[in-house]
């Protein structure tokens, strides 16, 4: 992957190819050790980890979608807009199909997920068409679309929360499976992450979007349908965002046009922290998943210190983000220098 000559030994080969991932693991381990030394009994509890695992899928799912867009050299700022609109429509649906006793028919939850994913797909395709056919720069297209989707959501709800949902939905998603151990939210996130990993690493779609993100002109000259690839990518991002919305719907047991608005920029930072290049063509899902974990661990960890106000979370999060990028800069810089000093392979 990295294009550098391979050093000896499997471990160092592995390190050379995954420098960034190793760095993230190191930061996470350092934080875990710090928490173990300072707040072991409050942090290392099953319930704490279960809570974290039920929370991070909200923005984690959205970040996975943003990652796909960024690999193509684009971005998706409309994730939260899509999530809220999908959640609101699903909430309407759940209320509509609720039985008189407040319960839900058996088909309701699968149908709700199908509906949300369909909404996410349609809104994503809309983004994709703006980016590919109308050729609006992705940052503007999705920013505009985000306002539009949020606007629709506000109009539909008059700006109020859609609450008093049939209880069955939140109970189902907030339950734990496999011996009452694993939160359903985590299962959803893991499934989506695996699907995306598979798409990126095992299918032609993955190869194509990496190459499209590297050089769109060369992709066109290689006979790829750039437009179709972009539409597909934004559609996938829309579906991921809608699933994130479904998790929010369960976690808050309500839906509203302005839930989770901090997630928009947070997702982008996570993806960049995960080692995806905003210029496109580079990045792995393992890095993004680790960055998602890191954010959640930091936030939860800090909350275990009552004397530190939660206002510090932004500060620390921003500091970590910049720290990892500075580390990257220095290691890439030295790698770049090494590469530069070695003259090109002489022609035969």
């Amino acid at each position: 992957m990295s294009g550098m000559a391979r050093p000896k030994g499997t471990l160092s080969t592995l390190y050379a190819g995954n420098r960034h991932v190793f760095r993230l693991v190191a930061v996470i381990l350092a934080w875990m050790v710090f928490m173990a030394l300072t707040r072991f009994e409050k942090f290392y509890t099953l319930i704490n980890f279960q809570t974290m695992a039920s929370q991070f899928p909200e923005f984690g799912l959205m970040a996975l979608g943003v990652m796909l867009c960024m690999v193509t050299g684009g971005i998706d700022l409309s994730t939260v807009g899509i999530a809220n609109l999908a959640a609101i429509l699903t909430a309407f649906f759940l209320k509509a199909v609720a039985l008189p006793d407040g319960g839900l028919p058996a088909y309701a939850i699968p149908a709700a997920f199908a509906l949300a994913m369909a909404v996410g797909a349609v809104l994503g395709v809309f983004n994709g068409l703006l980016v590919s056919k109308v050729r609006i720069p992705p940052i503007l297209a999705t920013l505009g679309a985000s306002e539009l989707f949020t606007g629709v959501a506000i109009v539909l709800t008059n700006g109020n929360a859609v609450s008093k949902l049939p209880i069955g939905y939140a109970t189902a998603i907030n339950s734990k499976v496999l011996g009452n151990l694993i939160p359903v939210q985590l299962i959803v996130f893991t499934a989506v992450a695996l699907v995306i990993w598979f798409l990126l690493n095992r299918t032609t779609y993955g190869v194509k979007i990496y190459l499209l993100g590297t050089n769109a002109t060369a992709a066109r000259f290689s006979g790829l349908s750039n437009d179709r690839l972009l539409v597909k990518t934004y559609m996938l991002s829309g579906i991921c965002a809608a699933l994130g919305g479904m998790i929010m719907l369960a976690n808050y047991n309500s839906a509203r046009a302005n839930y989770g608005s901090v997630y928009v920029l947070q997702c982008i930072l996570i993806v960049v922290l995960g080692g995806v290049s905003p210029a496109g063509g580079k990045g792995r899902i393992s890095g993004v998943v680790l960055a998602i974990f890191l954010l959640r661990l930091l936030e939860t960890g800090i909350n275990r210190f009552p004397q530190i106000s939660s206002y510090y979370i932004s500060l620390i999060w921003g500091g970590v983000l910049l720290l990892v990028m500075v580390l990257d800069y220095f290691s890439d810089y030295s790698a770049g220098r090494r590469l530069k000093r070695r003259p090109a392979t002489p022609a035969p």
């Binding site: 779609y205 990496y210 000259f221 790829l224 002489p346």
Partner: protein, 494 residues
């Protein structure tokens, strides 16, 4: 006796264990045009960077105008009158001609306020030196390559240049522009300025230089008077190999054409172009830069579809609106600009090779069959002799010739019927050029139809059985290359 302006003796330079220069000499006399030639990676760029103060030599001496230079910086070199015009000209394309010309002296004088009137004066003086006519307020991005080069030359002349080093200055120029450049070089020579002309194009070396120096693998192979050189010697010095010219003779040409173009028109570029290409033959298309030859290639491949006319592939009328349509019709294009249009430089050689056929390597649900992919990559790397220790390496680690083989390999992996090549050996050194020609000729013998679009006339004459000459968007002449020579083709081009 002639006086040396620059004399380098026994220069050594190593980079991380690679010995790039192994004790080379270079002697440039006052007011001469000296040509430095050699294949990619032979060390000529390294030597230029040492002369201009970018690198320090590990050993050896450099004298300029009789004085030894020790540890000079790029600024020192400029002060001494050494100017380098790099391949990319290092101009600011978002600024105007005037700003480009005046900025350096404004900065050198540490001025903090902009005086437009003074800047205009400076710029006007600079262009007047070589009688270069240009709109001073035009943004440089709107200029042609040749004009950008002129801007760079004017800028170089502003600092009392005594030695101007031009790094492959003709790569992107048309024949006419090359001629204009040569006129300017002669003018500079008349003013007593020495020129170091870096090139590996034989005809240019013969035409412009008085003396030459040839490097190979970091060593000096030969230096002497250009008139004692001939084309066989030149090639031998450059490559250490002897090449027998391989005139292509088509063996089995199909009766039915593979590609037939009828009255193809793209308004403003070309008009009413009709021709046929049969299996087993190589047809050349040539013309000046504005003849519409590049646009014809883009239209055939669907990047910029034609307005009217028809394209028939294997007798079937095919509507080519997008590159994908062309690929489906089994027509591929090796584009003009290999770096920006042909390759994904930071990606692996593997990805670059199989991208066009990746759908064929996939099973249901477009899951890639990894064994198939690996075998295919192995086959392509072997077949095209791509020199790399590991195909997982990034494509940018390859030399120009090898990169071009990757682009060729990408298309040949798709089992095409028709391959269109736009400038297939631009910027490729002689050895690789020869190999690429051999590959093309073998492909034609194997039953492919090949269309070479190029302004490299020796290339056309050697490889094509027929040539179409485009002028101002129309086919002026179709010739059998057996009855043609460079002069005849040129007379139809101009």
């Amino acid at each position: 006796m002639f006086q040396s302006l620059l004399k380098a003796t026994g220069v050594h330079k190593s980079f991380a264990g690679v010995h790039a220069l192994k004790g080379v000499d270079l002697d440039i006399r006052k007011g001469e045009i000296h040509c430095l030639a050699g294949e990619n990676g032979c060390g000529k760029s390294t030597l230029i960077k040492i002369i201009s103060g970018v690198y320090q030599p590990d050993a050896g001496t450099i004298e300029f105008d009789g004085k030894a230079l020790a540890r000079i910086t790029p600024i020192d070199a400029i002060m001494l009158g050494i100017q380098v015009i790099y391949q990319d000209f290092s101009v600011f394309s978002n600024l105007t001609v005037m700003e480009n010309l005046a900025l350096n002296s404004e900065l050198a004088q540490k001025r903090r306020l902009v005086n437009w009137k003074r800047m205009r004066e400076i710029a006007r003086e600079a262009v007047a030196k070589i009688n270069f006519e240009v709109d001073l307020d035009a943004p440089v991005s709107s200029l042609s390559v040749a004009q950008k080069q002129m801007v760079a030359i004017c800028r170089a002349l502003m600092f009392n240049a005594r030695l101007i080093i031009m790094d492959e200055p003709t790569t992107a120029l048309t024949r006419k522009e090359v001629q204009a450049l040569f006129d300017i070089i002669l003018k500079l020579k008349a003013q007593g300025i020495s020129i170091l002309f870096v090139s590996h194009k034989l005809n240019e070396v013969f035409e412009i230089s008085e003396r030459f120096t040839i490097f190979r693998n970091g060593e000096l192979v030969k230096t002497g008077e250009t008139r004692e050189l001939d084309s066989n010697k030149f090639t031998y010095y450059m490559t250490g190999r002897e090449f027998a010219p391989q005139q292509f003779v088509p063996e089995q040409v199909s009766k039915e054409p593979l590609l037939e173009v009828r009255n193809l028109t793209a308004k403003g570029f070309f008009e009413d172009v009709s021709f046929a290409l049969h299996a087993g033959e190589i047809v050349g298309v040539t013309g000046l830069l504005d003849s519409g030859r590049s646009e014809l290639a883009l239209a055939l491949f669907g990047v910029r579809p034609a307005d009217s006319g028809e394209i028939r592939l294997k007798g079937r009328k095919t509507d080519i609106r997008r590159p994908r349509d062309a690929v489906r019709g089994k027509l591929g294009l090796v584009p003009e600009d290999r770096l920006s249009e042909g390759l994904f430089l930071p990606r692996s050689i593997e990805d670059n090779l199989v991208i066009a056929e990746v759908d064929r390597l996939a099973g249901p649900l477009s899951v890639i069959d990894r064994t198939k992919r690996r075998d295919e990559i192995r086959r392509l790397v072997d077949e095209f002799k791509i020199a790399t220790p590991d195909p997982k390496n990034a494509c940018q680690t390859l030399s120009g010739g090898n990169q071009q083989r990757v682009v060729l390999g990408k298309w040949l992996a798709c089992n095409l019927d028709v391959l269109v090549l736009s400038g297939p050996t631009v910027g490729v050194d002689i050895g690789s050029k020869h190999d690429i020609h051999e590959i093309l000729q073998n492909l034609a013998r194997g039953g492919m139809g090949i269309l070479i679009i190029s302004d490299d006339l020796p290339e056309i004459l050697e490889n094509c059985s027929r040539v179409l000459v485009l002028k101002s968007g129309r086919i002026r002449k179709e010739m059998d290359t057996r009855d043609a020579d460079e002069r005849l083709i040129l007379s139809h081009m101009m």
